[in-house]
């Protein structure tokens, strides 16, 4: 069976300019937000990858410092270290990649209660490591919020004098 056009005389017409423009506008309106979302997701993913990397850099230091004897752990380990530059205290750790900035600070607390309601007191140190991504513009990314790492190392207990 043959199929014929109902109107043989009618000439074939392409899309009109208006149609193309309208279609393009619709496409742009539809695609741009999608691409924008895509880009946003991509950027967010890249950001979290940075955060994971930053957290790993922080953990490296934490693990190393926690392995040291309590007495050795002092403020000489405090350091602000920029990626790509040799570290003073942490040469043995995986080197910090360019663009990262690692700040280590150790704070000591003395003679504090080990827990509420308990008589025993003790000394402890909190290691705080802050890794940020320095893009050279002086602007730090959101990663800082998640790359903060703190840890506690406790020292001997000082017993209460009362039995």
């Amino acid at each position: 069976m043959r199929v014929r056009s109902n109107n043989r005389n009618q000439t074939r017409r392409a899309f009109t300019l208006v149609e193309i423009v309208i279609t393009s506008v619709i496409l742009v309106i539809a695609i741009v937000p999608m691409l924008s979302t895509l880009f946003e997701h991509y950027r967010a993913t890249a950001d979290i990858v940075s955060k994971v990397t930053a957290a790993n850099y922080a953990k490296d230091v934490i693990d190393y410092l926690k392995s040291l004897p309590y007495e050795k752990l002092d403020q000489s380990f405090n350091e602000t270290e920029a990626g790509g530059i040799e570290s003073k205290n942490y040469k043995m750790l995986p080197p910090l990649a360019k663009g990262f900035l690692r700040e280590v600070s150790i704070t000591e607390y003395n003679n504090e209660e080990i827990g509420s309601g308990l008589k025993e007191k003790f000394d402890y140190k909190i290691i705080r490591v802050n890794v940020t991504i320095d893009d050279g513009t002086g602007k730090k990314t959101d990663s800082t919020k998640l790359s903060l790492v703190g840890s506690v190392i406790a020292k001997k207990l000082e017993k209460s004098s009362k039995k």
Binding site: M1, V3, R4, S5, N6, N7, Q10, R12, R13, F15, E19, T23, L27, A30, I31, M34, L35, T37, L38, H41, Y42, A44, T45, I48, V49, K51, V52, A55, K59, I62, Y109, E112, E113, I114, G115, S116, G117, L118, E120, F122, Y124, I126, R128, K145, L146, L148, V149, G150, S151, V152, I153, A154, L157, K159, S161, K163
Partner: protein, 663 residues
Amino acid sequence: MFSLSHKNKKGMSYIIAICILGILFAAIVSYNTILRNERVQMYRMVYSDNALIIAEAAMEILQKIIEEEFSKTEFERKNDLFDYNDLIKPKDKFETVNFNSKKLTNIISSSKPITRIIDIFGGTKYAKINEVRVFIDRENIRSYAETFGPAAGFMANSREKFGLINYVIEVEYFTVKKILTVKKQIKIINTLPKGLRYFTLFVKNIPAGSDINSLIVDEDGNPVQGKPLVLDNGNFNKEASPLNIGMVFLGNEKPQDPIVLRLSHGADRTGVGELFQLYNDYYFDIFYDRKFPQGQYLIGHLDYGLCREMKSMTGYGIAFQRDVNTSILKLYGTPSNSTPTRIMGNVKRAYVRLAAYQDKATLGMNYMSAMPFVTPGNFSSSGITPIADISDNPQPPKYKSCAAIAAKLFGVSDYTQYSKYMNQIVTNEPYNHGLFSEIKDKRGMICEPFKIPDIKEKLYPSTENNYGGVPAAPADSEIAANDLRKLTLDEKYITPYVSYRFKDNADFEKFKKLFIAPDSSPAILNLGLVAYFEGDITLPAMVIARGGMIVCKKGNITISGDIVADPFQNQILTLIALDGEIIVNADRVDASLVALKEGTKFTPQKPIQINGTLAVNSIDFTQLSKVGGKLKFKTMQTVKNDSPFFYYASIQPDVRNWGSNKE
């Protein structure tokens, strides 16, 4: 039929375009979803890591709290977070011990270090401690004997056990939950090493040339030169089993140079000696004359170890060489309550030797042979040249075994008993008795054996010990391997059980305030735990109402006055100098004294009277022979004693070999 108008074609184009757009949209959405999921996962990772960091910090605090709780091993055993009495129950009665979770969660959550850490992570809005749990699961509890099998017959003590203490912390960070579990080994033991609880006298190292046989007595057994150190095992281990006799350990410098020890059984003819039990009946057969009217057999003894009464036993036709008794060790018991003693170490003994002599006609001077049981070895006489039984057939003599003659002399019944007794001892001769006390469990626990550098040495002692004996893990194999000369007590061993620490004698007032009854004279000691001094400590005259342990880390323990146990309390005090000496300036000390540090030497200045154990690196025997003394074992400290207050629990500080499960 299927022809399409141009308009329709255009419509189709729109549809296709929309479809493409839709597909594109779907692809982008899908991709975004993937990215989002990936991101969520990564966030979860970061949150989880942060939760773990909080949990690790909380774990550090939690372990300190629990260790502190464990150190409250006072006599009253007042613990806030668990019932200490649950821990020291025998293994078969042990139930899972759950610490107060609610209280622990509150303590940890409000602990300052933890609140500080949580603040770093954004405060309690984002991070919180959900739950803290600590428990000791009964399924993991093993008694030493159960784990390693019956240890050479030594009585298993079901209170001495080990297991795992589980710490569990659940932390929530941005809705991500993290559970951190750490398991540590817990030991519940009598803090005095098992090895030392067997010994009346334990000397690790006797320098070559030391005259340990410096006591000279006359033929009546009276000292003519020097003074003896008399060992009295008291009621300790009065059963006939060789596993239950009192013990002396004499270590020498070099295994190849054995110590020669000449023994006597004391002035009392019913006394007993090492590997030699002199019962009345064996020597004193009132029917002897009736049984042997011709007096064919005589019993004499040679060498060392005279029983002075035997001299007067003319009815027996006793003949003996008038050798002097030369032994500084006087081991004795009473007729009704004999206390046999084994001397361990690479010691060559000069035993009392029985010998058979001919009849009275020759004045008993016709020596025939030694009796078989002079030889260390099985008492059965196979392989030993028999001696002649001249009564049966003098010409030619008919040979009978020593055992047969001995049986005839003693009577079958007595001889059987005696041979049984001797066999028990002689066949267990190697000094390194298996006081098996394996510490690490390589089966049920999560111990990682490859991390223990000397695991092989600990688990599989060499086929021969330094004395060539049969391998068996000795007491406290963790620290002594298979050689008791290496038995040490160090800070690592003791400190987990320490409850109170003091600087040195300058802190004695603090110690006094805590543990000595106010205004008591002499001072009444109520210790009941392990107290620890960093430096020298001088102890005044005291009455022990509650025993325990005083440990001196570096320095000497000086006993300046009599330390007497309250007879109504019957407690044991143990004094341990880890790196120094114990100086006794008192007439009487009711305590176990332990000073095993290499290079130290116990030097008594006055006659010693110690009711307990003397375990020292070395003794100045010259000085000892001048002053003499008496050591009396106190039954209370035996391994058999399962009085709960002897047992202290500790969480082992060495965590390197133990894994932690991070879920």
